[in-house]
């Protein structure tokens, strides 16, 4: 892969495209990557990071994280902050799956205790958490009740016996984006998603039973603070978002922004997928309020899934979830836009941070973190491919330049069709079984598309985030059971 000629290496992990790279760039674009990762990035990443740098009101730099790859609008891994007074909000900077995110739940079980029951656990999880195309959830919800869900997120789950108070404390924003307004969402969006609470979806969404082995612990003290205290401790990680509701909110506003962007606001862009509106405009504020509803659906969805996971473990081990130590380590989003305070030109200012396939990574002592993580920094969850494992990391003070943001996954390197040509789903399932990973899937084809060979090396990505000072590795978690859509 040849790199753009104008790409300059600023440090071991920072690469910069100057404003002269493309007409209309207002700030330089910075790609955070090690030498080996930058070489593997597609041309589209540089092009898209440069397009983002052209958006009105962008501050400092258009960033791309080490797991960055070619997306639509922003690259996946794209991060940009905007001046709320002069800048824009763009659905293409958040993604269609608003508040797609990761949640990690502890148990006090060990691998030795879980291995003999893994088949039963995975099978029961597969039935308890609907997966795949068009799946619907077990929560019976009317359209009017759903409006309360999307305005209250995990708080609705708490009121309805589907959450514990401490679950909300261990969720970004307490599991609810303030200012969500259901009236900003179309009836279509509500109809599309009201019966999908507690569903996983498909693609790269999964629920995994993982093990924290002693040899994979990088920082014992922080691991302990995050609740990893037993050798070969079993944890549950899952990845999903706001389902059809969030997808429809993004699609609705993409279309409505296209209508006004140029005619009403005079904004011209390189890529229609970056359709945007001034943040303070009526259209921008309506999208922000609707996006918050979708973010709340994402939190509620993951909370209900956790409730189901607790039920399954409790049933299989005939012990209560409390007795099994099923506490949430953290729930963190990787597709959002949020107003946050950051240092801009030496001054603390409120800015609108877009993170698309990028994880918030607050350092120690920052406001908004639960008290128990004040010294460690925020738990960061980076999901790898289902074959290779995932990482629990900690946020760092040195992540300030990227608006306290780090990577979100390993990042694809191979198209879905190519992966399917190279891997047979059924055979992959058998191979993984031999390697001690029991898998249930709604689709063998979908499974093949998610094979480990289609992704960057998660170890390299996690290390790059540490070298760049974005997040530090605490423990690598390896899978022993997986359900996917």
């Amino acid at each position: 892969m040849s790199l753009p000629l104008q790409l300059r290496k600023i440090s071991d992990t920072i690469w910069e495209l100057p404003v002269t790279y493309k007409d209309g760039m207002l700030v330089p674009a910075r790609i955070i990557a090690s030498d080996s990762l930058i070489g593997g990035m597609e041309a589209g990443v540089f092009d898209q990071a440069a397009n983002v740098a052209c958006l009105p009101g962008i501050l400092n730099y258009s960033y791309c994280m080490p797991d960055g790859h070619w997306g639509y609008g922003f690259p996946i891994g794209g991060v940009a902050a905007f001046d709320p007074a002069t800048g824009v909000i763009s659905p293409g900077g958040i993604g269609f799956d608003i508040n797609c995110g990761m949640r990690l739940c502890l148990t006090t079980l060990t691998e030795e205790e879980v291995r003999p029951r893994i088949r039963e656990l995975v099978d029961q999880l597969f039935f308890a958490i609907p997966t795949g195309v068009g799946c619907t959830g077990f929560v019976r919800c009317s359209r009017s009740k759903f409006r309360r869900v999307i305005e209250n997120g995990s708080r609705w789950c708490l009121e309805n016996g589907l959450a514990l108070p401490e679950d909300l404390e261990m969720t970004e924003e307490g599991g609810c984006f303030e200012g969500a307004d259901a009236d900003a969402c179309s009836e279509k969006a509500i109809e599309r998603g009201y019966d999908q609470i507690g569903t996983l979806g498909s693609g790269n969404h999964y629920c995994e039973i993982q093990v924290a082995r002693s040899e994979n612990i990088f920082d014992e003290a922080t691991a302990r603070a995050f609740g990893i205290t037993i050798p070969n401790q079993v944890v549950i990680m899952f990845h999903c978002g706001s389902r059809g509701f969030g997808h429809q909110v993004a699609s609705d506003y993409l279309q409505s922004f296209l209508k006004v962007m140029t005619t009403k606001y005079g904004i011209k862009l390189h890529d229609r997928e970056l359709a945007c509106a001034p943040f303070r405009s009526p259209e921008g504020q309506a999208y922000f309020a609707a996006m918050k509803c979708a973010a709340n659906m994402g939190f509620a969805n993951r909370q209900v899934i956790l409730h189901r996971i607790r039920e399954v473990f409790s049933r299989v081990f005939s012990r209560s979830p409390e007795d099994l130590g099923m506490r949430v380590v953290y729930d963190v989003a990787h597709n959002t836009a949020k107003l946050e305070k950051h240092l801009i030109d030496g001054e603390q200012r409120e800015v609108l941070v877009h993170r698309k396939g990028a994880t918030r990574s607050f350092g120690p002592g920052m406001p908004g973190l639960p008290d128990c993580y004040r010294e460690t920094g925020q738990p960061v969850i980076i999901g790898g491919s289902m074959e290779t494992g995932s990482y629990l990391l900690a946020g760092m003070a040195s992540a300030a330049p990227t608006f306290y943001t780090t990577a979100h996954g390993s990042g694809r390197t191979m198209s879905r069709h190519q992966a399917k040509k190279m891997v047979q789903g059924r055979k992959l399932l058998d191979d993984m079984e031999h390697r001690g990973i029991h898998v249930r899937t709604a689709s063998y084809g979908g499974l093949a598309e998610e094979a480990g060979l289609a992704y960057k090396d998660i170890d390299v990505v996690a290390l790059a985030t540490e070298e760049a000072g974005l997040s530090r590795r605490v423990v690598k978690l390896v899978p022993i059971g997986n359900i996917k859509g």
């Binding site: 790859h69 639509y72 799956d97 279509k188 498909s202 997808h247 429809q248 279309q255 198209s415 069709h417």
Partner: protein, 143 residues
Amino acid sequence: MPFRFLEEIATADVAFKAWGNSQEELFISCAAALMRTMAEAPDQVVRRQEISIRLEHEELDLLLFSFLQELIFFKDARRLLLHADKVVIEEHDGIFILNAIVSGEQIDGGKHHLLIDVKAVTLHRFQVLYKGNVWKAVVVLDV
């Protein structure tokens, strides 16, 4: 088939090129590609239920965008996989008007060999053009 999946323009998502001798045929081809993205056996989707769709847009490409988006909506809201049976596109005073009849049945994993859920149609590289007497489109789906 009047469509082909593209490898080179969407690493994490699904891209396809579709074609037809008319605008209507192109729209039908794109609907077929969308269904093939979600189900390996579209021919197993029986036409049990029929739905009429009416849409309009000033731009032909965004009319296609809305049409595909409508089919994605029905996939989640009614759990339906839908064939585009009949599409009529007319232009009046600079507005393209689509009237379509789509039909299909409820999603059945056992029968339809489901592949991957489609979240949305993106505008990334999205294109409709008329070249060499053929209508062509490039579509990237977020999955």
